[in-house]
Amino acid sequence: MSGQSAAKRRLPDLRTRLINPVLGKEFTLRMRTPRSMWALLFYLTAIGILAFGFMYIFRMDYGLGAASFDPGRSRTMFLFISLAQLGLIAFMTPGLTAGVVSSEREKQTLNLLLTTQQSSTSIILSKLVSSLSFMTLLVISTMPIFSIVFLYGGISPGQVGTVFAFYLFTMLAFGSFGVLFSTWMKRTMLSVITSYGLTLFMYGGTAFLYLILHLMIDSMTSGQPNPPGYSNWLGFLMGLNPAAALVSIFEPELSRSVFRGGWFGPSSAEAPIELWQEYFIVYSILTVIAIPLSIRHIRPVLKRKRKKAAGRG
């Protein structure tokens, strides 16, 4: 009897060790906010409308009879849904992460949390993990819609898995930027705006800059038969673009074409690096910098420099 109750007591202990209290709190509070339900609903509706809308247009184009196997078409469909989902993730991530610390600061609950035994690392990571979990939930809930592409054939589960891995990585990277801004900036508003600004730049700004710079170089060198080599580096700009990186996984041609010298230059040359590889490397580094920075800045740096401490004594 007593042994049983002891075991019973150990069980919740184990649970508290596995689920960190801050993480537990984040989950509980998030699921209790009506906003989360609305977000889920909005997300599914958006993905659904995009997918079915796309399918509808497709059928109009090809006629009802042409619904049979067509690898090219299902590939386009797959890329389209994948990109649409990426866009929604880009839209959700700042909203879910850029307020995690600053909103607690604004609601004046942060100081209470900071005087507990929780380490800065556990607070930051719990907040990041809980936001990522919620986004993962959103993405997984779109699985049924995603699987529509299987109806058309030509797409392997492995490819779908790759896309989901890509999503997770992108959410982690942009999520950790959001958490960093939220830790740094006193106001949630500012942090959210900065996060959206960064997202907009990475998705739209890089592509826009790439196009503009290319056009400029092309117009300057239009007379010459061989475009100058320096225009090659412009391709690296596109490696920062999540959408381009995602497409380059499935269309290796894309990497080659963005790195070719000039707009109409020869595309036979090999790309120095695949776009998705560059994307992975650059964003991994940025993430690895952003997370420790947040951890360091959530609490004041109390340790004074040794020299000063010695001089005072």
Partner: protein
């Protein structure tokens, strides 16, 4: 006062040794030369403050004096720019986590997680302080009992009134059984009844052997429950000692009150020329002044005043309460040092 200053005079190293020797005399809080700047503004200018274990310490000062800043530094939420800050012998800059284990901090302004129920709220902070669930199950009803919130144990936190939230926050401070409670204006915004309740809770906590720092600018509220007071003004500690000592020290020149039928301005001029008379304050036909002489001199003073045409209605020693002491101390004294 003397005993305390002796202790305070010990070099930091020695007092630390004394700490480890144990006993109720060891210092719970030791602040020496604490300085804090916000940009160019110097919020704390070399603060010295020592609090012995088991003491209830009233931290008093006007708005903007630096009370909250000092308390936030003690709670490891702000970095000191200079000086030594120790809690139970542990330097806040060296081992903040150990310090956090020993303190319960209640900020002047705080928020709650609205979506939590009262019990869940306490569970969360308990868990965050590393208390196993089984222990919390037993502890939380006791805490709610202590702060009179037992009937609200299943209520959502955002349905609680301000005073209830304040008491809940106090219960939260206590989940990990800290030795030192840092309470920044715990009674602000409470109605008189709730203030009395808060005071009762303080008494219970004191009986439990906790060391308590409690800040306020409302003095009578503190007078009955504190053992010692420290007065801070413009970032400087201007006095520290027991309530009686501080009152006594100020009354080295007692304060006399003269109520007149008219001609108060002339009376002030006359008084300022008299021996033993210190600072003179006038409020309508009421004149208050510091007086260093004895009973004999006081009688002679009255005779002289009357001879020169002053017409008093009443002449007596002012009923100095803590409030007057406070006003007295914080009037321009901070500027001198």
């Amino acid at each position: 006062m003397t005993e305390r200053t002796e202790q305070a005079a010990l070099p930091a190293e020695n007092s630390r040794q004394a700490d480890s020797a144990g006993g109720s005399d060891r210092l719970m809080v030791e602040i020496r030369g604490l300085t804090k700047r916000f940009g160019n503004f110097q919020a704390l200018k070399s603060i010295d403050l020592t609090i012995r274990r088991g003491t209830v310490f009233g931290f008093i000062g006007p708005n903007g004096a630096g009370k909250s800043t000092t308390m936030a530094i003690l709670a490891t939420l702000l970095a000191p720019d200079d000086g030594i800050v120790r809690v139970d012998g542990i330097d806040v800059t060296e081992d903040p986590k150990e310090v956090r284990r020993r303190i319960g901090y209640m900020p002047d302004f705080f928020g709650v997680y609205d979506q939590f129920r009262t019990t869940e709220y306490l569970h969360f902070y308990g868990a965050s302080c590393g208390i196993p669930r089984a222990e919390r199950e037993a502890l939380i009803p006791q805490l709610l009992e202590l702060v009179n919130l037992s009937d609200k144990k299943d209520a959502y936190v955002d349905t609680l009134s301000r005073g209830m939230k304040q008491r809940l926050c106090l219960a939260r401070c206590l989940v990990h059984d800290p030795d030192l409670l840092i309470l920044d204006e715990p009674a602000s915004g409470l109605d008189p009844r709730a203030r009395i309740e808060m005071r009762e809770i303080m008494k219970e906590l004191k009986a439990m052997g906790k060391t308590i720092i409690i800040s306020s600018h409302i003095l009578p509220e503190l007078a009955e429950m504190v053992d010692e007071i420290g007065v801070i003004e413009q970032g400087r500690m201007i006095a520290q000692g027991s309530v009686a000592e501080i009152q006594h020290r100020l009354q080295a020149g007692r304060i006399l009150e003269l109520r007149l039928a008219g001609g108060a301005e002339e009376a002030v001029v006359l008084l300022e020329g008299e021996p033993h008379v210190g600072r003179v304050m006038r409020d309508g036909q009421l004149v208050r002044f510091q007086f260093a002489g004895g009973d004999e001199e006081q009688a002679e003073l009255l005779v002289r005043l009357v001879e020169r045409g002053v017409r008093p209605i009443a002449f007596s020693e002012a009923q100095t309460n803590l409030e007057d002491v406070f006003l007295e101390m914080t009037k321009g004294i901070g500027v001198k040092t």
